[in-house]
Symmetry: C2
Subunit: 107 residues, 2 copies
Amino acid sequence: MRLDAGQLQALATLAEELSFTRAARRLGVAQPALSARIRRMERRLGQQLVERSTRSVRITPAGQDLLSRAGPMLTAAEPVLPEGEPVLSAAGPVLSAAEPAEAPRGG
Amino acid sequence: MRLDAGQLQALATLAEELSFTRAARRLGVAQPALSARIRRMERRLGQQLVERSTRSVRITPAGQDLLSRAGPMLTAAEPVLPEGEPVLSAAGPVLSAAEPAEAPRGG
DNA sequence: TAAAAATACTCCATAGGTATTTTAT
DNA sequence: ATAAAATACCTATGGAGTATTTTTA
């Protein structure tokens, strides 16, 4: 797909926490999953979004720029989801519409 | 992922065209690809979003409801993408940030 | 019968998990 | 040594393609 709100949300959360471990926990995914997401996003954009060492995480200017453009979208995304659901999370129903039935999920 | 702007865009385009063939053409994907997208979205939501026969396509109330909530998000998504790029399209760079390098894509 | 959606494959990327390794303090 | 990110490996799903079949006006 072209535009993935979940990826932007991942970057936004990482920017808030400045820690892959904490951001992953907050997003409800494992740390390597978040690492991989960010790496894929960087590869697809051909740009580094985050500078990391094992002891520090910093959002690059390109990352900041992307986040500033993405912010309004993430805000607007919220009413599309069930009450209180985060844009990105590992399990649970996807999107929202009246009564979602079973929600199969990736493993 | 949880929320896919591309899927919402697919539904929105289908709602405008009321034809999988035309909507797919407009989105730059093959007709079966669009069909599959919509089907997956319906399966994940556990709700029918579109009533189709080979001769007519109609968006269900659940589909309309979803679209009405998704509209603002799709509008807000536009500044995240390169100038004039649709939210969903088969090829080309993903997201946007300064100078995307090579853009590998699904096949 | 003709046009449109669905189906049936195939291929590759995304995405998540656990276990482990590397790295920097 | 320890804490944090990266890597390696696995599996499942998403998403696109072409070719074909089903459906119905």
